[in-house]
Symmetry: C2
Subunit: 360 residues, 2 copies
């Protein structure tokens, strides 16, 4: 279950009362959001709307772990000491060089009487807000971590605010699979909101995790045709359901370089485009023009790739006289984790693709 | 009048036939969009769906002119020679260092029988697509340009494709005023699409050109309350209608630093927020969090600032568990120039603000 705050929650709160955004946990500098803070107060005592979680594992952001590994030349002891020092100094795991955090899994330990998150003690959860804004204390000196990967088994506690996002880890799925789904669960949820009955949908990067879930979401929302764009023959093979006993994830597969607008749009048109909705799920720079050009006038482009350039999208649409609605893919949509997990459970082609991806 | 192509126009066209996007004018490298091309064919003979314009003035992009001025230490002769060389070499005015162009004004000279733009010979127009994709020839060696500003009086011709955007310069307004409006006309058009009857609208940067037009558009679309955010007391004075005889442009003025989310959201709330729609019109980096936090759950943020960071918006919303729709401000909405010019004509506070801004 994904939990979230009702629509009325606002940031400001009178001095002294807990803030749904955790402003009362900010020590330095005062007045900024927890993510922007240098130091948080990770004290275990919770406010009436907070939750304390017993932490079992940190998943460090890939860029953060890479920076640490390179800085300390792969020395596990030094990497471990650096992570411990960051957490002790800042009250949260936010790499001061990369600015990034990661997420954690753990068990709900204590729930304040006014927490709106709907969690109960004993539930195994994953946090879907970043470690960069999560108060955190480590108590086992990371003794069980070998320092060789971004997966950090540990003991300690973390604090969730009223306006946090956490999802209960399902009993019926392996944890790595659930985490892989939760990592990209905003994409299918927003796709589902935007796609209407009978739409032609293009998913750029359809063989990836967010792409395959978005394709399944488009299908479920009633798309008349789903066109999956992949860069190579190998990705096309991955996208085809290997068992061929189930409905295929997409109706048409286009192999194209999404960074070449003219070639991409021509191939999409041959496959049944242009799209009413185009979903960009590839983490490559320079896909804005191709996505815009593959979309019909009056259509919508949803950008989920963090490699998206805001100005390339805005100026690209203007330069093409393209009357398209362009959405910044918001990683948070209420109910997104549960929705994505259900897609995985009910779409064999998605599950098969994820299981192959997670094994890699 | 703004002219644009019907929704059915698609990019691909059989080899040999003109492309609505001008692909047939691309010389090097073949197959890319005109904007991405190194060199275009600016021949004066037009295809059946093209238009040739007699050019009267180029308005170079500010960043492009600055780069030229700095490179040539302000020497007008060298700057002039450099611009001539770029246009002669590339067949378009696209600064190879900055990648940017600008726009032009001129007179329609010849209209192909299948041009969908609705223009007639003799009409004075401004192009609303970039010079970076407009075939251009200069015939007077820029003899009338002093090289001292980005305003370049000149003689020559330019080509408009089927899928170009051009607006007729109105007879009833001074040209600099019309150009200033057209420069930002996408913002009020999209604001008008998004704002619904009774909405609370926050405009960040409300005393600017795109901001004031967006505020007027929100009012016209039926907003119940328009809150204008400005950074300083001086900007607040600019926003207040100096004559005080007309309806004010905004209902509430908030003076705040939009880069400080917590402070901004608190002040917006005091002024009647949070917003159903927040429009970001300030060209400053770091306004994403404040805009998101000033917007109610279920609301919409429209980012018009080119300083917007895609990842800051996407990750910011997730970190705040904010269920907001985030739109990339598309500079093109059909009818946008005419709509914005009408707002200026019918909203004395906007006209007054523009006249003071344009004089600066």
């Amino acid at each position: 279950m994904t939990t979230s705050l009702p629509a009325s929650a606002q940031p400001a709160s009178p001095r002294g009362l807990p803030s749904p955004l955790g402003l009362h946990r900010v020590l330095d500098p005062p007045g900024v959001l927890p993510q922007a803070a240098w130091r948080l107060d990770p004290s275990p005592a919770i406010a009436p709307d907070e939750i304390r979680v017993r932490v079992g594992r940190l998943n460090l952001d890939a860029a953060s772990y890479r920076q640490l590994r390179e800085t300390y030349a792969g020395d596990p002891g030094k990497i471990r000491a650096a992570v411990l020092d960051i957490i002790a100094t800042r009250g949260k795991m936010q790499n001061p060089v990369t600015g990034s955090g990661g997420m954690l899994t753990g068990t709900v330990e204590e729930v304040g009487p006014r927490s709106p998150l709907g969690l109960k003690p004993g539930q195994r959860i994953a946090t879907l807000v970043s470690l960069t804004l999560t108060p955190l204390v480590i108590t086992d000196a990371l003794a069980r971590w070998d320092g060789l990967s971004e997966q950090v088994p540990c003991e300690g506690h973390a604090i969730l605010f009223a306006r946090s996002i956490a999802a209960v880890l399902p009993e019926d799925l392996p944890v790595p699979l659930s985490l892989a789904v939760m990592d990209v669960c905003g994409a299918p949820a927003l796709t589902s909101r935007v796609v209407t009955e009978g739409a032609v949908v293009v998913v750029i990067g359809a063989a990836g995790k967010s792409g395959s879930l978005s394709a399944a979401a488009a299908r479920k929302a009633g798309a008349a045709k789903v066109i999956g764009v992949v860069p190579t023959q190998a990705e096309a093979e991955l996208l085809r359901d290997p068992t061929a006993t189930q409905d295929p994830l997409v109706d048409e597969i286009v192999i194209a370089d999404a960074r070449e607008p003219v070639g991409l749009a021509a191939k999409v048109e041959q496959a049944g485009g242009p799209a009413d909705v185009t979903v960009v799920c590839v983490d490559a720079a320079g896909c804005e023009g191709g996505a815009i050009l593959s979309t019909a006038q009056g259509g919508t482009v949803i950008f989920f790739s963090m490699a998206t350039s805001f100005s390339a999208a805005a100026l690209g649409a203007e330069g093409l006289a393209a009357d398209v609605t362009m959405l910044v893919g918001n990683g948070y949509v209420p109910g997104h984790a549960e929705f994505a997990l259900d897609l995985l459970r009910t779409t064999p082609a998605v599950r098969s693709l994820f299981e192959r991806r997670v094994q890699e």
